[in-house]
Symmetry: C2
Subunit: 424 residues, 2 copies
């Protein structure tokens, strides 16, 4: 890993994949086709792109039972405990509808209503991602969403991983369709004979999924389109180099485009971490991916003060931030922009990926400046509620009418003055 | 206005203006140009598109003073009272950072942080919109946003309306740039010599502004791109036809593409409202606009039960909903989708546009299915905070490592197991 000064931060590139024109056109044509031909198009694309010849898209009760039977009870127990922790953390985020009353009889408030229908995309490919099921489904469950639908691309044999089915069952989802790519997003956005149209689509996916989500945004809501995973470790001279290196590599192994950055005030830690990264890489199964990620998008920023180090962290606005300093709590107030903040030696980032409770769907690519981890608020919407009393309108009617006329809207003023007439 | 059955609802079109290919290309080229040439490009476009030759973009202290002096004190008082009401309603939405502790020493929470910098677009043109200043700026002020910047297109003489400047001053904004259109959005998204780059851009505008907001989305956050204004009045036979008609017209006068719909269980009210609309139209200054809007996008849906009427309302998911029935409160729980709900005879929609307190920036085009009125949550973001104790990791470490291996991520498992080693 290269050691740089804060001024050289910009030399660490951040990978963005916004898709080629050709990919965008492919996605547009898939969406148009699914809107026109429905299930027929979905089955064709699933055969053509996922290599699976399906008779029906929906996962059956038998498949759920088989999945449960194929897993070890110890693993099911772990999934259940993780789901419980995640559910509990998200239950703390629930908010009631509220109202406020005034002496003139006015009542103003916000009605909080769960979304009616949500679609969750769970990526497929070589590995199974039960954690992705939990993190995307459970906030919607806690929010009270009436209908939660999952989609995930089938293998060539037409199956989904047991872990994904069992996780879905634990989370409380039993409506799953074997669908991936842009066709899955199109199906959820506009509905087909067998797939229901939803109000919001969440969950990670490849570039085609990301482009499809962008394309349907507005007709339905989407979560943020995620970039490659990122970690920044903020360390002083009390940090253990072997911990830091292991955590940097745990992020680097995700993807060649992942970003792992150490920001430190200690030259000694910088040098030791560099050595440790090389050493730990040697035996890592996914070392080809991790080594390339560290080389292309990793780096060590050496700062001459903790203040300068915090400025660097805030200017990166990382997805994951680990704070490995003598007094980690004392820095929380200074950190403006980070998706998740991990404090102290024992708060290794995978604790948050799987088990502790907070969501692992986090803002990437610097969007922590304005975005939040996936949370219960993402699955409810608010409506303003306005009750104005006769007395309130008598007191304020002239002012409201005057304000409307200041903006040139006579009809607005008349709608107010209309209420003065009690005769009709 | 035409009278229809619930089954004919689809025949009432909803206008959407997503821009032509040509407009999209114009917007893309303006954005690229502003990114490259900064202020020089901004000044050129302002001359070319707004017809204003400016020496400097920023509004001066003298301009604020002149604006205040040009307004009547009565009008300034109204603006101040409205701002106070809006501020108070939004203060009720503030939420603290929170954390939860567990017996094993774990501490989990959410840190709530205001956005650092926000840009507010205030439309120009023939009228002044001080209400737009309040509704977009005050939630950001209440959220604690550090830097709030306003942009609004200047007149040919290079001025902004007095009401807009005074409203900005009342709201607490003193950094205003005379900028409109796609160039204003580009300046705020990427920054120039004189305009700061912000983290989020909010506020309504024409199709060029909307296209530019969509184009910069991801690099910065934006609010929902708004469609034409909409009202649905839900009425039983206790509603006064003249009130209903006045309120339908107050929405219709906004724009030829606005939508005004009555949903009622009463044939008598339906017929009376139709007559009243024609009668009230005769003397309305903006009758050409309102008549076309009512003709093209308006309608009366006659339902044979209140249940069916509520289904119609929910399927429209209107921006504004007025409930003019005998017991308006009793229906609030049944209304799933609406931006703002106005209850009873005295809660005329303009009460909410200007004065009561709730925001008038509301989800349009059916997006009330998943979106909320502009609110304080839109100007803060959350960061997860995770402190895991040594004991927590000892208890759960093996489970977390096992979960990671289920997903094929060995590096994640090792980052956890690494902590077992206390020797270094």
């Amino acid at each position: 890993m290269k050691i740089l000064t804060p001024n050289e931060l910009a030399s660490i590139e951040r990978s963005v994949d916004s898709g080629t024109k050709e990919q965008q056109q492919i996605v547009q044509s898939i969406i148009a086709d699914v809107r026109e031909r429905g299930d027929e198009a979905l089955l064709e694309y699933t055969k053509q792109l996922d290599g699976a010849s399906l008779q029906q898209l929906r996962v059956t009760q038998e498949e759920f039972v088989e999945a449960r039977q194929s897993m070890q009870q110890y693993d099911i127990d772990i999934l259940q405990e993780a789901a419980l922790n995640i559910r509990r953390f998200h239950e703390k985020q629930q908010r009631p509808s509220w109202f406020d009353t005034q002496k003139d009889g006015t009542m103003l408030g916000q009605k909080v209503t769960p979304l009616s229908a949500v679609g969750v995309y769970v990526p497929g490919g070589t590995a199974a991602y039960p954690s992705s099921v939990f993190m995307n489904v459970l906030p919607a469950v806690v929010a009270g969403v009436e209908r939660i639908v999952m989609v995930s691309p089938a293998s060539k044999e037409g199956t989904l991983p047991a872990e994904v089915l069992v996780a879905a069952e634990i989370a409380g989802v039993e409506e799953i369709y074997k669908l991936g790519g842009a066709q899955a997003v199109a199906g959820l956005a506009y509905g087909t004979e067998s797939v229901p149209a939803v109000d919001k689509i969440v969950g990670p996916g490849n570039v085609f999924v990301a482009l499809a989500k962008r394309a349907v945004y507005g007709d339905v809501d989407i979560d943020m389109v995620a970039g490659p995973s990122e970690i920044v470790v903020l360390a002083d001279d009390t940090a253990r180099a072997s911990d830091v290196a292991a955590d940097l590599l745990s992020q680097a192994e995700h993807d060649e485009r992942s970003s792992s950055i150490l920001v430190t005030t200690s030259l000694q830690v910088a040098n030791k971490v560099r050595e440790e990264v090389d050493k730990q890489l040697e035996t890592l199964p996914r070392r080809a991916i991790a080594a390339k990620s560290v080389e292309d998008y990793g780096g060590i920023i050496l700062c001459n003060s903790m203040e300068s180090a915090i400025d660097v962290v805030n200017s990166i606005a990382p997805e994951h931030l680990e704070v490995m300093v003598e007094e980690p709590m004392s820095l929380v107030g200074s950190i403006k922009h980070a998706g998740a903040i991990f404090l102290g030696r024992y708060s290794a980032e995978p604790v948050g990926d799987y088990f502790a409770g907070p969501n692992h769907v986090l803002p990437t690519s610097g969007t922590a400046r304005f975005s939040s981890p996936l949370n219960v608020d993402d699955f409810v919407k608010k409506s303003s509620v306005i009750y104005y009393s006769k007395q309130a309108l008598e007191t304020n009617g002239d002012k409201i009418a005057r304000f409307a006329r200041l903006e040139g809207l006579e009809g607005h003023a008349r709608a107010i003055e209309q209420r003065k007439d009690d005769s009709q």
